[in-house]
């Protein structure tokens, strides 16, 4: 019994890290994705192709590779050792690794989100913009008061897909030794030589994604009072 409680505690700690990574990634990647989508739709060609190039690279290479790359950047490009970084910012090595992972995740997911935003924005009929224009609205007013809510409604299904994938992708954090849920489970398996921690971990992921699925269907229902063309 004592063992069970200890395993559960370790998994809970790992789950905390997983949730933190999930939340940090969403908070950074959602607005960043919107900004990137504006870049990829820009009428200024050089910017447009630069952004599209970045999206191509980020979506075209493994996330795990990107995490490793980010973690080596300070040493190989800026000639700063990790231990100097931790000393300078007064953080632990674990926190530094977590930050590397979060940066890689945010950039990676922002690029995926940006394509979803772009699809949503481009699907809004031109008439909506024109109606705003003839009513004397500014571009910003049209986007935030007229277009955005319609985009949100449109992109909920693809977004929920991507966000559920994010929950499971957090397991990649362990390439830098971050103790996330799966890593914690793996440790427990090795330590106690039993398989059940992996099943518990699976349960954690399932419940988390189950809650997200419910949340998304609630939001979808909440927004069903209007239809977009």
């Amino acid at each position: 019994m004592d063992k069970f409680v200890r395993i559960l505690q370790e998994l809970a700690a790992g789950f905390g890290t997983t949730v933190l990574l999930f939340v940090v990634t969403l908070v950074i990647a959602l607005p960043l994705g919107l900004i990137i989508s504006f870049g990829s739709m820009s009428r200024f060609k050089p910017l447009k192709y630069l952004v599209k190039g970045i999206i191509w690279v980020v979506r075209g290479t493994p996330l795990m590779l990107q995490i490793l790359l980010v973690s080596f950047l300070p040493q190989f490009v800026f000639r700063v050792m990790n231990k100097d970084l931790t000393a300078f910012f007064g953080i632990s090595m674990n926190t530094l690794m977590f930050i590397f992972v979060a940066v890689a995740f945010s950039i990676n997911y922002a690029c995926y989100f940006s394509e979803i935003f772009r699809a949503g924005i481009e699907a809004i009929p031109r008439g909506q913009y024109e109606a705003g224009q003839v009513l004397g609205m500014r571009k910003g007013q049209i986007f935030f008061s007229v277009v955005l809510m319609q985009v949100v409604k449109r992109i909920i299904p693809p977004m929920s897909n991507e966000i559920i994938t994010l929950v499971k992708d957090t397991a990649l954090a362990q390439v830098l030794g971050v103790i996330d849920l799966l890593n914690a489970a793996n440790h427990a398996v090795n330590e106690y030589v039993i398989l059940t921690p992996l099943l518990y971990a699976a349960l954690f992921y399932l419940v988390f994604n189950g809650l997200l699925t419910i949340l998304f269907s609630v939001v979808e229902k909440k927004l069903s009072y209007y239809k977009v063309q």
């Binding site: 224009q133 003839v134 009513l135 004397g136 500014r138 319609q150 209007y226």
Partner: protein, 295 residues
């Protein structure tokens, strides 16, 4: 001096010339219908008046003031301001689906209110000449108090203005016969009701010239009546109306003047009587004959 004057308007899309020199004028209180077969440039003309398209050459004058000249460059802000002389009702309504009928009508009013208040606030926050001359600065607490007072009076002013907007929007919606449907969303309304909301929305900003782009073309035949009735009721000595339509009966009855367009030019321009009862050009005669045969 004409209320609205359009001079020598040209517009091309790529190599296709859609408008090949349009001139016409309109007096206050007049209704002008624009008729013609599809592809003749009617809608493009209307869009040029509302600056949804910018004409390649030509100018637009309202009450003797040049509000658009193709030779000049206009900042977005100027276009926005000048555009407000005109209102436009679209063929496809283009209501904002996430808002109720009332909110659709209020939204542009509320935005203008907010912008106006923000401007006043900016003016007020500038230190006046007197303040600059003062040698001692007011104490921090006095400044904080003044700031809070300012915030309070502003909140009151804003609320008052917003309430006025609501009252106005409700009155207009009642005028178009939608007093019962104010809190419905566009998806809950029929096409005719949607178009009436769109008309109310255009009216809220009190444009001097109200334009209609085939307002009944997207409607089921049995719903056109209610919309045409509303448009008829809008004829007023205070505003002019420009109506692009395929409803000849309606055009003949409501219009003071009729423009017949063909191939990007005004082929014939005259009173309703002249155009429908004694057409001169061959093209107009053919057009009216075809129309009579097809109905």
């Amino acid at each position: 001096m004409s209320f609205l004057e359009v001079k020598n308007l040209h517009k091309s899309f790529g190599s296709t010339q859609v408008l090949k020199g349009i001139d016409f004028s309109l007096q206050k209180g007049e209704v002008v219908s624009i008729i013609g077969s599809s592809g003749s440039g009617k809608t493009t003309l209307l869009r040029c008046l509302n600056f949804l398209e910018l004409a390649d050459t030509g100018s637009v004058w309202v009450k003797g003031e040049e509000i658009f000249n193709a030779q000049k460059k206009y900042a977005d802000r100027e276009l926005r301001k000048n555009r407000l002389h005109f209102g436009l009702v679209f063929q496809g309504f283009n209501l904002f689906p996430q808002y109720t009928a009332l909110k659709n009508v209020r939204l542009p009013l509320d935005m203008q209110t907010k912008e106006r208040l923000a401007r006043i606030r900016k003016e007020l926050s500038k230190p006046s000449a007197e303040d600059k001359g003062m040698s001692s600065k007011p104490s921090v607490s006095a400044r904080i108090n003044a700031w809070i007072e300012g915030k309070k009076t502003f909140a009151e002013k804003k609320k008052q203005a917003m309430d006025e907007n609501a009252v106005k929007a409700e009155r207009i919606l009642r005028d178009v016969g939608l007093g019962e449907k104010m809190n419905n969303y566009p998806c809950e309304l029929s096409g005719g009701q949607c178009q009436r909301v769109a008309i109310a929305r255009a009216l809220a900003l009190e444009p001097e010239i109200l334009c209609f782009d085939e307002p009944t073309s997207a409607l089921d035949p049995e719903l056109t009546g209610e919309v045409l009735r509303v448009i008829r009721s809008l004829k007023s000595p205070d505003r002019a109306m420009v109506i692009v339509t395929h409803e000849m009966q309606f055009a003949a009855e409501i219009s003071d003047k009729v423009v017949f367009m063909a191939d990007g030019v005004i082929e014939e321009f005259g009173t309703s009587q002249q155009i429908f009862c004694s057409p001169q050009s061959e093209k107009l005669k053919t057009f009216l004959r075809n129309y009579a045969e097809n109905r």
